[in-house]
Symmetry: C2
Amino acid sequence: MGNTATLTKLVIIGVGLIGGSFALALRNAGLVKHIVGIGRSQQNLHYALAHGIIDEIAIDLATALHNADMVLLAMPVGQTAHVMAQIATHLQANTIITDAGSTKQEIIAAARHLLPMQNRHHFVPGHPIAGTEESGAHAAQATLYASKHVILTPLPETSTDATEKVCQLWQACGAQVSIMSADEHDQVLAATSHLPHILAFTMMNHLRHNSSDLAHLLHFAGSGLRDFTRIASSSPEMWRDICLTNREILLQQIDKYLYELKLLRESLEKNDGNTLEEIFSQAQHARKKWLKNSH
Amino acid sequence: MGNTATLTKLVIIGVGLIGGSFALALRNAGLVKHIVGIGRSQQNLHYALAHGIIDEIAIDLATALHNADMVLLAMPVGQTAHVMAQIATHLQANTIITDAGSTKQEIIAAARHLLPMQNRHHFVPGHPIAGTEESGAHAAQATLYASKHVILTPLPETSTDATEKVCQLWQACGAQVSIMSADEHDQVLAATSHLPHILAFTMMNHLRHNSSDLAHLLHFAGSGLRDFTRIASSSPEMWRDICLTNREILLQQIDKYLYELKLLRESLEKNDGNTLEEIFSQAQHARKKWLKNSH
């Protein structure tokens, strides 16, 4: 497909950890001339402008999107459909639209409803599997995507050129890009990310509800609990949106996990040491094999 | 209570990560003259001898325990009662007996059954909350207990002097020592350690059972899942024993966690975003407060 795409004008809606890091990485790679930022917090946008993450704070959507090569939607996933509706009338036919949301099927359904076919030709849904429990432009870093996975889930009507261009830009950020269906994406992420977050949040609430003195209880907690619950420090708003937009798959994942936990509970209730050891061995083996393969 | 206790002869049964690190830390502090090691793996004991963790490999229990100031039981908790039965006839009246097991009520019940009153006067059950997913003498390190918690759960018949002596030795290893009842210990550890281990092991098995290609699925997993499941790399034998010896309390903890998870599932099923966000906020708040307090 020739040389890596370059962007004359990139519009980022939601200049936080994800959008801000994309801006910094593309700037470092020398692939973007002018970046316009849009967002709900003026304070955050002024920080991004002052720190060279963006070149301009948008005055209005029409001006911002005029002659834009690409627009990145990087707000919490629950707001994406609303923002898509707002930008729909201002989009030029050749502007590439991409997003960074953690769930993909619902935003694709929204795009089918809100974007004319000429814009859907240029819509490339994406999800960078990167981030920390931090948020906001001040957390943005040029190296956030180095060696991280980015999954693109193009629609049947998305043009190959648009997908290729978005792919090249993420690769220029240092990411490994994979392409899969939105359904497969949502299944994979429900299992490897959404469910563990649910379980970590639930662990903290379980401790809260079963202790008259939580500080005393946690005083004796070791590094195991600390690592296990790290993801429970993540943004409640973000995780509300992820859960609601991947609801059906996540409900299935919770039910299957409940079943697995009940099997273990049954072995413990029966004092069945052999089965317990076998359960733990299989889990330990699977984890060790995973770590070995990922190095 | 005067100067820190010193030991002329310390016997360690089970010279692994826990027993070996206790030996190295006391040696560094200059508080022990001679350390005798006992264990089921001769290879491990020879490693410990060659690396200065112990001074002598025991020939037999009677010789090893003759004139011992203290014996530390540091094998997997499921073997502790068996070992206690073996040493009972060889113990001198003034030898302090302590252990490092992760559960305390069951070993105290065993001691009541197996040790004469004169020995129970010198029995100080203990639990250092330290360790990694590694095991064996090669993993031992003198600094393992620095700033870590050690909980002692003396019996009503344990002498204050014996408890004080064990307390001083752990403090000399750099640990913070707390004293509580065995029941409170087992409740606190079930909530903050045993349950998270159960949930992490279950997560790996859930992924195994719900994927036709586990390697492909885990290929897209981020650091969140990696940290969440770190403790699922722990020893299956050790965790079988911990579960079985803290069975009733752990079953209650599992049931309460299941209840908490079902509450969240219900909010998700009802599409109740406000309740979900509230659930996540409370969990996030509790974790942030914990981390703030622990610095």
